[in-house]
């Protein structure tokens, strides 16, 4: 039985979040900026189209913003690989594992619980 991931594009990366963890995907959301908030990994241009992926972690909803939404992919958990240390640590800390897809692109499996560490102080 394979594991299903919703996949998203951010920058040049293909990122996956386990289907069960995704509560909702919203597009065309108006974003209210919070001054003095810690900056996240990427600064985004507000006018760009975006996919807001709502996940629940630590009892609170969190929206992870991606450039675009892609299809659901199924992977074999046995093919999971460790996240190589060469990946910059600010990204690496968010990832649980990496899969190589049939077309040899890499799917970076993101752990929503760790995403909170981006903003949690």
């Amino acid at each position: 039985m394979g594991k299903q991931y919703c996949s998203f594009i951010v920058g040049e990366l293909l990122v996956g979040i386990e289907v069960d963890r995704v509560r909702e995907i919203l597009t065309d959301q108006e974003v209210t900026p919070v001054p003095l908030a810690p900056t996240s990994v990427h600064e985004r241009d507000g006018d760009q189209p975006a996919a807001h992926v709502i996940v629940v972690t630590g009892g609170e909803a969190l929206s992870l913003v991606f450039d675009a939404e892609k299809e659901v992919v199924e992977v074999d958990p046995a093919t999971a690989r460790d996240v190589p240390e060469i990946i910059p640590s600010e990204i690496r800390t968010l990832l649980s594992e990496i899969y190589e897809l049939a077309d040899s692109t890499l799917l970076l499996a993101l752990d929503p619980d760790r995403a909170l560490s981006l903003i949690a102080t």
Binding site: V34, P35, L36, P38, E60, A61, L116, L118
Partner: protein
């Protein structure tokens, strides 16, 4: 739900409440073993459970409670002397009854019979008594106090004035009312566009009705703090017993009402605090006797109401928290650096207790001491809009002060715009809204080395640009200045905004983790257009704005907040010395041309309105002599006090620093003091003495 189910449900709930009270009373009994009223109350609690389970046909439970009733009856009639062991057995009885109740709740059946051990234990106490004889005992009917003869509640449904409501339903009601208030705001916007008309009248009606509804729902959600605090005498007693300590808990303000969601958060926090206090705070009886304390440690949980907030003080008379040990612990855990630790005072050290991952206890017990907890306690309280502080005297005890809102908040706020964003300011803290045209702005707002001051009815109000405080680009407008005069716990200041909108009532929701710790925001709300807006916290704004005049803090940790600290105007005197004048005595800052000064006998004076104000030049000798007669302009601080007026001629005006002057031990410098917030040296001037010295009589 069938009728039977409802009756059983009611029985379960009532029994549990009865047991809560029973446990509390039993612990009370240890201090007042012969109090007949208390014994009667305990007896009634048990009897009422027994009566109902007889009615519902729970025979096992009935037999168990019967045995307890026998024991209590003997106590009540004085045939048996109270002993702590009896209280312990009765508490076990309470546990055994709870086991039955759980079984009934999950399976609908009693399940297994009562543990024979507890039955035997209860009986054993009775057998202990000398000369016991069964026939001495009066019948139950005769023994019952008169109040007890009333049937249990569920058989007298005719006269009930209260009903039980599912808490989920209450939560849902609150959510719905919150949404209703939002829609009401939207309708209000529409009505505002229509001048007069039926919509306006209907809106007024809607406003009144929904306001009443909101208040009623809020009140329906109020719960007594006691429902939470009453558990603690038992918790503390059991905990203490397991550690061979003696602890009693004193409760105050049990009838203070608070929203149930808030009460829940309060309960969680109290569990942590009480455990920590019993485990770490209270010494062993031997240690306590050795230092002259009562062998029994005392905990106190006191709740009180104050202005829409509930304060709960949890204190112990234990060993207290040693700030230095705490700081050392934080350093060795790598939470702060040595340098940071050195800058902390006692209060700052105690604050460290709320850092994640800190524990001073060297050994980990099963109860607490794993270094998790206090940070979670604070976070949970903040989630409901509350807070917690700690104070401690080594050897004397520790007190935690919790402060939570009475209800989930619906607050009137003023909408302001700044740097393209929209923010809400709680109306309670807005004193006035002022718009100054370009001319007035130039005249009434002074720029003192980057700090702006607004002359508001004789006072000088520090002004901050909201955009700037929020770290956003400051808008440059030539259209004058719009500002809000805020009062944050006694600190008055003005914030400059681009525009002020309507006053709206909003439901404030807490911010999510990560952004919750930004002190300038109290929460977030959904506006009538469906978009979120951040709610500002004037206290946080004041802290943050105050920080910009001091050295930037090294960490993002909360800056030390000096409440009620006066602001000081720092200036350089004519001799180059740093002077400070408390802002409360500063009337105006003037830049005067020399030719406006007039000499009268030995003193320079200026005409100021109708008055002649003497000027003093504060040179190296603090000589009250005339100012140097050179050309150009001079900066004058015009002060007034009850003693009269005086103008201080200074070289330049530097800054306004909120902070306390603390005496510094500079030998030979009697007047020298240190400005606490930025560590700068400045000399505080006694304006009254100067006025007296200048010989001014008014």
């Amino acid at each position: 739900m069938s009728d039977d189910d409802e009756i059983i449900q009611a029985f379960l709930e009532e029994s549990r409440e009865g047991l809560d009270q029973l446990e509390l009373d039993l612990i009370e009994l240890e201090t007042r073993p012969r109090d007949p009223e208390l014994l009667a109350q305990i007896y009634r609690s048990v009897h009422s459970i027994k009566g109902t389970c007889g009615f519902l046909g729970y025979q096992g439970l009935e037999a168990l409670t019967h045995r307890g009733e026998d024991l209590l009856d003997a106590l009540r009639a004085g045939r048996l002397a109270f002993a702590p062991a009896i209280a312990t057995s009765l508490l076990r009885l309470s546990d055994a009854i709870r086991t039955f109740l759980s079984a009934i709740e999950t399976t609908g059946e009693e399940g297994a019979d009562a543990d024979p051990a507890i039955l035997a234990e209860l009986a054993a106490h009775l057998e202990d008594r000398p000369g016991a004889a069964a026939d001495e005992r009066p019948t139950h009917e005769a023994a019952q106090p008169s109040q007890d003869s009333a049937a249990p509640d569920l058989r007298s449904g005719l006269h009930e004035t209260s009903i039980r409501v599912d808490v989920d339903l209450l939560d849902r009601l609150m959510d719905l009312v919150g949404e209703l208030v939002l829609v009401r705001g939207k309708v209000g916007d529409l009505a505002a566009e229509e001048d007069g008309g039926e919509l306006v009248a209907s809106y007024r009606q809607l406003r009144r009705i929904s306001g009443g509804l909101l208040e009623s729902v809020m009140r329906a959600r109020l719960q007594q703090v006691g429902t939470v605090t009453r558990k603690f005498p038992r918790i503390a007693r059991d905990l203490a017993a397991s550690m061979e300590k003696l602890v009693s808990v004193e409760l105050h303000g049990e009838d203070v009402g608070v929203d149930r969601a808030v009460n829940e958060a309060l309960g969680d926090a109290l569990v942590h605090l009480v455990r920590n206090m019993v485990d770490h705070g209270i010494e062993s009886p031997a240690d306590r006797i050795a230092i002259g304390k009562n062998p029994e440690g005392r905990l106190r949980i006191a709740a009180s109401h104050e202005g829409g907030r509930v304060h709960v003080e949890v204190s112990d008379d234990g060993r207290g928290i040693d700030p230095e040990r705490l700081a050392a612990g934080a350093v060795s855990a790598g939470l702060i650096s040595h340098e940071e630790a050195d800058t902390l005072d006692g209060e700052g050290c105690l604050e460290l207790i709320f850092l994640p991952g800190l524990s001073t206890k060297t050994s980990v017990t099963s109860v607490s001491g794993r270094g998790v907890g206090m940070d979670a306690v604070r976070a949970n309280l903040e989630r409901v809009g509350g807070g917690i502080t700690v104070a401690s005297d080594v050897g004397q005890g520790t007190v935690f002060r919790i402060d939570v809102p009475l209800t989930v908040a619906v607050v009137p706020t003023v909408v302001v715009h700044a740097a393209g964003g929209r923010y809400c300011v709680p109306q309670g803290e807005v004193q006035e809204v002022v718009h100054l045209g370009p001319d007035r702005a130039r005249k009434e707002v002074s720029d003192v080395s980057g700090a702006r001051l607004y002359r508001l009815r004789g006072g000088l109000l520090p002004l901050f640009d909201l955009a700037e405080v929020l770290g956003l680009p400051r808008s440059t407008s030539s259209e004058g200045i719009t500002l809000l005069v805020l009062d944050a716990s006694g600190r008055r200041f003005g914030i400059v905004v681009d525009d002020v909108g309507a006053t709206v009532e909003v439901v404030v929701k807490p911010l999510t983790r990560g952004i919750r710790s930004i002190p300038v925001f109290a929460g977030v709300t959904i506006m009538s257009d469906g978009r979120p807006a951040l709610v500002l916290d004037p206290d946080g704004l004041a802290d943050r704005a105050g920080l910009t005049t001091a050295a930037p803090a090294a960490s993002t940790e909360e800056a030390p907040v000096v409440r009620e600290a006066p602001s000081w105007l720092v200036a350089t005197g004519t001799g180059g010395r740093q002077l400070a004048v408390t802002m409360s005595s500063v009337w105006r800052l003037e830049r005067l041309r020399r030719d406006r000064l007039q000499r009268v006998s030995q003193t320079d004076v200026i005409h100021y309105g109708d008055a002649l104000i003497p000027l003093v030049r504060l040179d190296d000798d603090l000589d009250l002599g005339p100012s140097a007669p050179d050309d150009g302009e001079v900066d004058v601080i015009i002060c007034n006090s009850t003693a009269g007026w005086i103008g201080l001629v200074v070289e330049s005006i530097e800054d306004i620093v909120p902070g306390r002057l603390v005496p510094s031990a500079v030998p030979g410098g009697p007047g020298m003091a240190r400005l606490e917030l930025d560590g700068r040296l400045a000399e505080p001037l006694d304006v009254e003495a100067l006025i007296a010295g200048a010989g001014v009589v008014r």
